[in-house]
């Protein structure tokens, strides 16, 4: 299992960050407004903000770290994207709904470099579903730790596992994300994960036509059972939305997942760095174009 975890941990994406011209002084070189970076699937986009600010600091038309009138956020194809989901999860969701990633039939997929294009923008008001990018250096860490508290509670019924980490261990845990230290991350996350969980922390995103997005967080009880995805099909496809499970496939960490896999096995192998298992329901037509 560790081998799969390692592969998941090492997963990366090519990200092209374009910066809105409004950030830069007039006459700045156009190439300064574009960054091409290789980003782990298992991190937050805002962990790259210091790199972005550093890259453009000589050309900024204002001081973003002391700016109190404007908000910053990322967009993809004009739609706001939420930095508070792992980068890989954002990508999996956008693949399902965006033509940007569709590979032309005349090109061999192995010769195509897929770019996840994000645009850094600013405005006087913020899209209602986006957490603003603040200037505080520990915004991502605070959010991530809070996610783990929830995960710990869902798995164990209490936050003791994470709250009993020493200050050094907590720091080491976050540092393992930033420095990509798989060994440290595994060592500490194991302290929080029981061998028999009460529930499984799972977040499901479904993308449909016209960019409509449905996110759900079902409560899946694990007391005395280890259901397969097929067993919990109703919870996976969301009771709120009547959709045909047969026309969707399940993707986690960019990989198509069979319906007959046991949920807890899937969780242990494919959970994200914030402790949640993210599942993306992708229309089959998108899968045929992009994931295969």
């Amino acid at each position: 299992m560790n081998e799969i975890r390692q592969l998941v941990w090492n997963g990366e994406l090519n990200v092209l960050v374009s910066i809105d011209p409004s950030f830069l002084m007039k006459g700045s070189p156009k190439e300064m407004a574009v960054l091409r970076i290789r980003v782990p699937r298992e991190t937050y986009l805002i962990n790259y903000m210091p790199l972005i600010w550093n890259r453009i600091q000589d050309f900024l038309s204002f001081d973003p770290l002391n700016e109190k009138e404007k908000y910053f956020w990322f967009e993809h194809n004009g739609r706001p994207i939420r930095w508070n989901y792992p980068v890989g999860v954002l990508f999996d969701g956008l693949v399902a709904s965006s033509a940007t990633f569709v590979t032309s039939s005349g090109i061999h997929p192995e010769n195509v470099i897929t770019l996840f294009k994000v645009h850094l923008v600013m405005g006087k008001s913020l899209p209602s579903t986006v957490i603003p990018i603040l200037s505080s250096s520990n915004q991502a860490e605070k959010f991530w730790f809070h996610q783990w508290k929830q995960v710990c509670f869902i798995l164990n019924g209490s936050s003791k596992g994470i709250m009993s980490l020493s200050v050094n261990e907590s720091r080491k845990f976050w540092r393992s994300v930033i420095t990509r230290n798989f060994h440290d991350f595994t060592e500490i996350s194991k302290k929080i994960s029981p061998s028999r969980p009460r529930h499984v922390p799972i977040i499901i995103q479904t993308h449909k036509d016209l960019g409509i997005e449905v996110i759900s967080q079902p409560t899946i009880s694990m007391t005395g059972v280890n259901p397969t995805l097929r067993d919990i099909e109703q919870e996976v496809i969301s009771a709120k939305e009547i959709i045909d499970a047969g026309s969707y496939v399940i993707v986690s960490q960019g990989i198509e997942i069979p319906w007959d896999i046991a949920l807890f096995d899937l969780y242990l192998k494919f959970r994200s760095f914030d402790g949640f298992l993210y599942i993306t329901l992708v229309p089959k037509i998108s899968v045929a174009r992009t994931f295969r």
Binding site: K68, Y71, R82, N84, K124, S125, L126, S128, T129, V130, I131, P132, L134, S135, S136, K142, F143, H146, K149, Q150, F153, I154, S159, M163, I215, S216, Q217, T219
Partner: protein, 167 residues
């Protein structure tokens, strides 16, 4: 902790008690039946207004509180949004405010921890949440005190930092 059914009962009871309606800060109150939640619109205290001026150089318009239930923690969950007043020419507008040091601005540093989150059950809207993981040890959930759990929680999580004064 408090069971969901008990939360529903105590929330209704809290609403009926008129404690919020009689609160001098309360401008609007709405019981949201289908979500078993309570939305409050409050005018900012003088102290909050001063903090916003000093820390953010901004003027507050109102504070929104949303009392809801966390099914993860089986606890009441307090959400908060801060609205600032923006004046340009003859227009007065309001917009959401996201101070970096929100605990300092609210004067709850060291008492409560807050974080920004999006909430799936609220159309993924962004709110500050008061982290609820220590709630039962703060509020006390021994059997004899359970019938007044939410009233006590309100006293600690809401009135302790906003103050309470009757109309």
């Amino acid at each position: 902790m408090i069971e969901y059914e008990e939360w529903q009962r105590q929330l209704r009871s809290l609403y009926d008690s008129q404690i919020f309606q009689n609160w001098v800060l309360c401008q609007e109150i709405r019981l949201i039946d289908d979500k078993n939640a309570l939305l409050l619109c409050l005018k900012p205290t003088h102290k909050l207004q001063e903090s916003a001026k000093i820390i953010e150089n901004k003027s507050l318009d109102h504070i929104e509180l949303y009392l809801t239930y966390s099914k993860i923690y089986s606890e009441p969950l307090l959400l908060l949004r801060i609205w600032e007043e923006k004046r340009s020419d003859d227009m007065i507008m309001t917009r959401l405010m996201f101070p970096c040091k929100v605990e300092s601005l609210l004067g709850v540093e060291g008492k409560f921890r807050l974080g920004l989150e999006t909430f799936i059950s609220m159309e993924n809207a962004v709110w500050y949440s008061f982290h609820p993981c220590d709630t039962s040890s703060i509020v006390g959930d021994q059997k004899e005190f359970r019938p007044t759990y939410l009233r006590r929680w309100t006293s600690i999580f809401v009135f302790s930092w906003l103050g309470y004064e009757d109309l």
